[in-house]
Each structure stands twice: as structure tokens, then as C-alpha cells.
């Protein structure tokens, strides 16, 4: 009867496996529609991009089509601006990460202290994140950094100093400033929340042991923040690799290729002339680069994520 082995019939062992694993199978069955949908959502566009990257597909020149193997990739790597774009992408991501993490920690420490108007200060610090990137870039370019009529120029004039031509002489630095301004609130918010979960008792214990503020910071606060820092770095990297709007609106790739990153390179070389094959190849290269960067990042700080 139940559980008894019946000789000869193969059906009985299968039935018992199913019933033994019923819970696990129910779980899988319940989740599978969502997982399947997500998989299709990811796989179909990725597959089409990969397919197009091996084709010559010019939207405006439909006569010239066909399989070109790695031709699109060769064209992309052979672009004289490719290495500059790669370098600029890594510079932009690295600098903004450094500024936002360090600045975020300092701001979070500051906002964690009680002071009059702290709530207003917190709202003001968080706000830049909600400004659209194109709008933020235009405000910085025309209202602040403009060497003739910008705020910085006015301040320079007060001190009798020559105003700086930000986008002409320091284009990459200007873009880094704008992007950091946008992402600093994000880092601050996450680090502030993490900071608020730190026990006050640990601080008192450290004081009793004679630890100063600096040692307290480096030996207690920073390790506590490690997980939050990891989250910030990983999420920001995903978005910073794709910075585009700020560059388009201010410098359009910059004097020469000074502010051309990989995303902008794909836009200027392929998307502008509706070269679907070339743009797909560029996109695939960007995905591979993002994976490499993620791999190294996870190696470096991922151990902090349990």
C-alpha cells in the first residue's frame, strides 16, 4: 500500500519522488512564470543585439546587408577614439565613485550629528539626486560654470582673478563635478541610514577605553559602513558606466575626445547614422566591459556582502 514497493511497475518509484518533493516543486511551479518572463525579457533583447552585432545593418542604406562576422567589432575597436573613450569611461567612473563615497561618508557623519535645522539640511542634501541629468548639466554649464556670466566667474571677478573656462580647459573635470553633484545625495542617504544603525553603546565603550575620535572612526564606524559602501559602489558603477545626458548637453563629446565615453562613442559613431550593426557591437562591448569592472569590484569589496 503506501510506501510499499511494487515489483515490475516503473510508475510507483516516480510517483513517490514527486510526492516526496512536493513542497519544493510547488515552490518552483509558483515562481516559474515570473522567472520565465524575466528570462525572456532579458534574453530576447540580448539575443537580438548579439545577432545584429554580426550583421551589416544600416537603417538608411537597406541595400547593404549581410553577415559580416566580427567586422562591426573590428570597426569599433579600430576607431581612433576607442582607447580615449575607454580611458574616459574608467576615469569618470573611478573619480565619481571616489568623490561620492568619501564625500558621502563625511556628509553622513555630519548629518548624523544633532544640530538646529538638521531636517531641512537633510532634504537639501538629498535633493540634487532628483534633478534630471540634462537639467542639472545645463544649470551647471550656463548658470554656474559659464566663464562670462556664471556664478563662478562673478566670484573670480570679485577676487580680481581670471575666470576659468571650465568646459574648454577642464572638460572632464567639469563633467565629473556635475555627475558627482548628482550622485552624492544617493551615497549620503545610504551611508546615513547605515550610520544610524550603529549602536551608541559602542561609542561609549570606545571612549571608556580611551579611543579618540579618529580611531573610533577607523576601527568602529568604517567597518560598520563596509556593507553600505559596497552597495553604493556597485549600484553607482552600473549607472556611471552609462553617463550620457550630461555629456550630450554640455560638450557633445568635448573638445576633441576629452569627454567621449564609451556610451557617447556608440552614439556618435553608430546611433547618429542609424548603424544598427555597429551600435549593437558597441553595446556588446560595453556589456563585456561592465562585467569586467563588476568582477574586479566584487573581488575587492564583495566579501563585505554576506
Amino acid at each position: 500500500m503506501d510506501g510499499a514497493l511494487e515489483s515490475g511497475t516503473g510508475a510507483a518509484p516516480r510517483a513517490s519522488w514527486f510526492s516526496q518533493n512536493r513542497e519544493k516543486l510547488t515552490g518552483v511551479a509558483a515562481v516559474s512564470p515570473a522567472v520565465l518572463l524575466l528570462f525572456i525579457w532579458m534574453a530576447v533583447p540580448l539575443g537580438m543585439t548579439l545577432y545584429f552585432s554580426f550583421q551589416r545593418y544600416l537603417l538608411l542604406n537597406p541595400d547593404r546587408t549581410g553577415f559580416v562576422g566580427f567586422g562591426n567589432y573590428a570597426n569599433f575597436f579600430g576607431d581612433p577614439n576607442f582607447y580615449a573613450a575607454l580611458f574616459n569611461t574608467l576615469t569618470l567612473v573611478g573619480s565619481v565613485l571616489a568623490i561620492t563615497v568619501i564625500g558621502g561618508i563625511l556628509l553622513a557623519l555630519l548629518l548624523n550629528q544633532p544640530f538646529w535645522g538638521r531636517n531641512v539640511a537633510r532634504i537639501l542634501v538629498i535633493s540634487p539626486f532628483f534633478v534630471m541629468p540634462a537639467v542639472a548639466a545645463l544649470v551647471w554649464k550656463n548658470l554656474l560654470m559659464n566663464p562670462v556670466s556664471g556664478l563662478f566667474a562673478w566670484v573670480a571677478q570679485l577676487f580680481g582673478v581670471q575666470s576659468v573656462d571650465w568646459f574648454g580647459q577642464w572638460p572632464m573635470v567639469s563633467i565629473i563635478i556635475i555627475v558627482s553633484w548628482t550622485w552624492l545625495p544617493f551615497a549620503t542617504l545610504i551611508l546615513l541610514t547605515s550610520l544610524q544603525s550603529l549602536d551608541e553603546e559602542q561609542k561609549e565603550a570606545a571612549e571608556m577605553d580611551g579611543a579618540g575620535a579618529i580611531s573610533y572612526f577607523f576601527f568602529i564606524v568604517l567597518p560598520h559602513l563596509a556593507r553600505a559602501i559596497t552597495v553604493v559602489v556597485l549600484i553607482e558603477t552600473i549607472f556611471l558606466l552609462n553617463v550620457f545626458a550630461e555629456i550630450l548637453v554640455t560638450t557633445n563629446g568635448g573638445p576633441g575626445s576629452a569627454t567621449t565615453n564609451l556610451t557617447f562613442l556608440v552614439y556618435a559613431e553608430a546611433l547618429l547614422q542609424f548603424n544598427v550593426g555597429g551600435a549593437s557591437a558597441g553595446g556588446v562591448v560595453a556589456v563585456i566591459l561592465a562585467n569586467i569592472v563588476a568582477f574586479f569590484l566584487i573581488r575587492m569589496i564583495g566579501r563585505n556582502l554576506d
Binding site: 537603417l59 581612433p80 562670462v148 568646459f167 572638460p171 563629446g253 573638445p255 575626445s257 576629452a258 553608430a270
Partner: protein, 444 residues
């Protein structure tokens, strides 16, 4: 409970169903036109006044898609190239029309009513939108480029701006009026990288120095003497007598500079004439003088031509209604409608001879005749001294031009910023242009 009489019930359902389907059927008798347009003031006005069109054509519904220029270009180009059929009417520029007409993606306007007065269209405008003698789009408004200058500063310095100045004269004037200590730049010019930004102006300078983008074999000519002389002059002029930060100034930034009284001269689009003379926007509204765009060795191609036009893709399901709308929106009657609602200053400029013979318009827009002479001297089908295989004054109507133009624009903005020499910038541009043309198969 009363039992339901199924026979009577069934009859009621049938009647209700019939009535409903008649309602739905009546609603489906009208056609819907989807119109893609750019978010300029004139276009938004067209959307507002389109109620007049739907009054005259009660069976046509209009569905508007208003986008920023780059987004619009992407959407309509992708739609027409993949025969998506999303749009019945597209707003496109004089850049797209020759490319798409050649590919036979647009419906020709070969059946225009006599009341449309097609002969009234300005010749360069009609030329720019025609392919093999047929019109493939109808012009909404057109612009060229001209020189704006400060009459008061010229008077104070005892200078006289000729009607058709040369670039050497402009350089001379700029030197005399340049006063950085008092925030005054001798001249403001576009430096921001882009095929429609700095390259639009530089393109006309190159033309007027006798240069061209490509020779008859599609070989780029960026390493020619004409290009070097033109770009060298432009870079030095802007570097010596231009505002700080010129390498990232486009049309908008220069307009702001001129309106706040920081430029003695400015060479840019004729549409700016309306803005710089508007006291609500400009601090120097009463002191603006107009002259033709400067030239070098020849006046040919020294002022550009840009047209925003309405076209109907072949993939549309409502060709007659779509063409009817386009005819309405670009007709003289529409201009009169705008004048009624917004005054003559708001009339879409640059497309018809009759507008510039209209006393009402001329008195509302004192710069009108200068704009007219600029547009009339633009020649998109014959823009250069030496023969060329392309059409377009400040652009080349080939699909590859956007990428090439932006790349060259980037290099030249580096030269303007002093980050690269003119020679290096042009060498790199020449190689990049040739590479693009090679990849697109022009030399096979």
C-alpha cells in the same frame, strides 16, 4: 421569481448589440492622423491652431506627438526606415528630404491645388525640398544665416558695416570693438561640437573660402588649403576676439550673450532676428543692425539654408488626408490664421514670396527683407565653387554626415579651445571622415 423568457431576452440582447455596433461603426468612420513634430514655438502654435483644420474636416482627427529635435529625428527616421507606419505626417528637415526622397520613402506632392500657389514658394526653399523636380515635402518655415551687429558700438567707434562684409573686415571690426575689461567680446560665434552646431557655421565659412566637403569621387577634402584657411581664420578670430568659453557655446549660449549686450557682432541663424529685437528678451533690442553673413573669396554658400518641412511617408494608411493636412499647414491661409491670432510677427518665416510683399508683415518685422535676401542667396543644389556630388549648403545630405559632422565638430572645438592645432584637428578629421565613408561602402 419570474422566470426569464429566453426568447424575449435574446431579442433584447440582439437589439442592444446592433445599436452598440452601429455606435462603434459610426465612430470608426473618421480617420486619425498621427503627426510628429518638433517642440519649436511655431510648431506648438500649429498644434494650437489645428482646431481650424478639424473644423473644416470634421471626419479627420489629429493625434500629436511633440518631441525635442534629436528625439524626433530618431523616432521618425527609425519609423520610416523600418516602414513602421506609426506616423502619417512627419516634421523633417532639409537634411532628411533628399536622402528619403531618393530611397522613395516619401510621397511626392504632385497634385497640389491651384489655391496652394506653389509658385509663391521661394526658389531655394522649393529646390531644397525637391528631388528630380518633384516636391517631396512642403516647407513650414525656413531660415538662413546673417550677421547681427551693434549699431551703437559701430557708431561710437566710427565704423561702418558694409552690406556684404568679408571675414577680413569682420576680423578688423572685432579687433577694434573687443573690450574684455568691460565684458564686451568683439564677436560671438558657435564653438560647441556638433554637425548642426559649430559645423553649420564653419561649413559656410569653408564654402566661401572655395572649399567643399567631398569631391566628385566622395573623397573628403578636409586636408585642402581652403579648409585650412577657413578654419584657421575662424579659430584665430574666436580665440582673439571671442568670449571666454567659446568652445562650448552653441546657438542658445550666444543668443544669451548677445541679448545681454556682451557681443559686438554675431553670425548665426536668421530666426535670432526676432529674438534680439524683442525688448522683452533683449537688452539691446533697439541697437541691432543686420548684414549679410560674411564671405571669403566667394559669396557662394556663405549663408546656410535650413528648412523645417512636413512630409508624408509612403507607409501611411491615409495618404490623401495626410497630404491635405500638410497643404493646409503650409498654405497662405494658415499664415493669415496665425496673423489673426498672434499678430504678423508670429508668421512662419522664410517660405513664401507673398509674405515679404505683405506690408503688415514688413512693418511688424523690420528685419524681414534682410532675412529674405539671405534665404534667396542660398543655393542648396549648387553650394560650392567646385562641383560636388551632394546637396546641402551647411550640411551634406548623406546618412553618414551626422556622424562625420559631429566628429569633425569635436576636433574643431578642441582647436577653438586651444587644445589642438588647426592642422592636427583637420588631419584627424580627414582620416575619420575617410574611414566612415570607407565603412559605408562609398569606395567599393
Amino acid at each position: 421569481m419570474k422566470p426569464v423568457n429566453t426568447k424575449v431576452f435574446g431579442r433584447h440582447i440582439a437589439h442592444a448589440g446592433l445599436a452598440f455596433s452601429m455606435l462603434v461603426g459610426a465612430a470608426q468612420a473618421s480617420t486619425t492622423l498621427t503627426i510628429a513634430t518638433v517642440n519649436n514655438g511655431d510648431m506648438v502654435r500649429m498644434q494650437e491652431l489645428s482646431a481650424e483644420f478639424t473644423r473644416q474636416h470634421p471626419d479627420i482627427e489629429l493625434n500629436w506627438v511633440v518631441l525635442e529635435e534629436n528625439a524626433l529625428r530618431q523616432r521618425v527616421t527609425t519609423d520610416i526606415a523600418t516602414r513602421g507606419g506609426q506616423f502619417d505626417v512627419m516634421t523633417i528637415g532639409v537634411y532628411e528630404v533628399p536622402i528619403w526622397a531618393k530611397r522613395e520613402w516619401l510621397l511626392p506632392f504632385d497634385n497640389l491645388a491651384a489655391s496652394y500657389e506653389v509658385e509663391d514658394l521661394l526658389d531655394p526653399v522649393r529646390e531644397g525640398l525637391s528631388h528630380n523636380g518633384e516636391l517631396y515635402a512642403l516647407p513650414f518655415y525656413a531660415e538662413s544665416s546673417m550677421t547681427f551687429y551693434r549699431k551703437d558700438l559701430f557708431e561710437a567707434a566710427g565704423l561702418q558695416m558694409p552690406e556684404t562684409p568679408t571675414w577680413s573686415q569682420i576680423t578688423e571690426f572685432a579687433g577694434k570693438l573687443h573690450d574684455p575689461g568691460n565684458g564686451m567680446s568683439g564677436i560671438c560665434l558657435r564653438g560647441k561640437a556638433g554637425w548642426g552646431e559649430n559645423m553649420a557655421v564653419i561649413g559656410t565659412v569653408v564654402n566661401s573660402y572655395g572649399g567643399r566637403w567631398f569631391d566628385m569621387d566622395w573623397e573628403p577634402q578636409l586636408d585642402s588649403d581652403a579648409w585650412y584657411n577657413a578654419v584657421d581664420m575662424y579659430v584665430n578670430l574666436l580665440g582673439n576676439y571671442g568670449p571666454s568659453g567659446a568652445s562650448s557655446n552653441g546657438f542658445t549660449e550666444n543668443l544669451a550673450l548677445f541679448n545681454s549686450g556682451r557681443c559686438a557682432m554675431w553670425v548665426d541663424a536668421t530666426v535670432a532676428a526676432g529674438f534680439v529685437t524683442d525688448p522683452a528678451e533683449s537688452e539691446v533690442a533697439d541697437h541691432v543692425g543686420f548684414a549679410r553673413a560674411p564671405h571669403g573669396v566667394t559669396r557662394k554658400g556663405s549663408n546656410w539654408l535650413w528648412i523645417w518641412a512636413l512630409a508624408v511617408p509612403k507607409s501611411t494608411e491615409n495618404p490623401e488626408e495626410a497630404q491635405a493636412f500638410v497643404e493646409w499647414a503650409t498654405s497662405n491661409k494658415y499664415t493669415e490664421l496665425v496673423a489673426e491670432h498672434r499678430g504678423w510677427l508670429g508668421a512662419p518665416p522664410g517660405t513664401r514670396k507673398s509674405l515679404y510683399a505683405n506690408e503688415n508683415y514688413l512693418s511688424a518685422a523690420p528685419f524681414a527683407l534682410d532675412v529674405l535676401s539671405a534665404i534667396e542667396t542660398a543655393s542648396p543644389q549648387d553650394p560650392t565653387v567646385d562641383p560636388v556630388p551632394y546637396v546641402g549648403v551647411q550640411l551634406v545630405s548623406i546618412p553618414e554626415f551626422q556622424a562625420i559632422g559631429t566628429r569633425v565638430g569635436q576636433n574643431l572645438s578642441a582647436a577653438i579651445a586651444g587644445q589642438a592645432s588647426v592642422e592636427d584637428a583637420l588631419d584627424d578629421s580627414q582620416r575619420a571622415a575617410r574611414r566612415q565613408m570607407q565603412m559605408s561602402g562609398y569606395y567599393d
